[in-house]
Symmetry: C2
Subunit: 129 residues, 2 copies
């Protein structure tokens, strides 16, 4: 069973962290059997940690885990901190197949998100709302 | 002519700001005649400001501008700071049609970006790289 972990920074603002958990829930509904487990994990300021989210996925039956950095820029968090959290989980769960993806800021599909947001605006403007 | 402005936070790390400018350039190539002008603007720590990016788009011939907040969470920057920057530009350019979209974190299409990142990881794992 394949799990997808959204690896976010975490915020002092509870609503921001809740927004990431809500993304994970919507993603689980969309992904269906492709990723039966979708969870959020945080580098700091929020729970669970990324390593804890991976451990929980393993306890729920995941045999493969894909960790996707939910960050727009390839800064220290993407280059150092998230790989370190993944390595921590891998050391504790040597039998689990954990893979780390590029951060969402590098995805070509992010361009379509930007266009879609802009198009929605246009529609709203035209409809006068 | 319709312009799309990517409204980002800005970073002390020059490479992160450059990454946003690179997204704007890739977006311009993808958007073609739909958004002939695509530019990045920043709230702080980087140039140009969001208002300056809008002004520059108008100077380049834009008659309509869609501003897309390049942020994942609906925090103060999305709720207050970016609308204030847009209002500043609108006050200076009353004839320009400026519209503000939701932040990218609320886009349903962002879920597809997450799945795509996770799928890429799977492919890399299977091919042994």
């Amino acid at each position: 069973m394949h799990a997808l972990i959204i690896a976010a920074h975490g915020s002092r603002r509870a609503a921001s962290n809740q927004e990431v958990h809500a993304v994970a829930e919507r993603l689980a509904r969309l992904a269906g059997e492709r990723y039966p487990i979708c969870r959020a994990g945080f580098l700091e300021l929020a729970e669970p940690s990324i390593a804890d989210a991976i451990r929980q996925a393993a306890q729920d039956g995941a045999t493969q885990v894909s960790v996707v950095p939910y960050l727009l820029a390839a800064g220290r968090h993407v280059v150092e901190d998230i790989p370190a959290a993944v390595a921590e989980a891998q050391a504790q769960l040597p039998g689990l197949d954990i893979a780390l993806s590029g951060h969402i800021g590098q995805s070509p599909k992010l361009l379509e998100v930007l266009l879609d947001c802009a198009d929605q605006t246009q529609t709203q403007t035209q409809s006068g709302t």
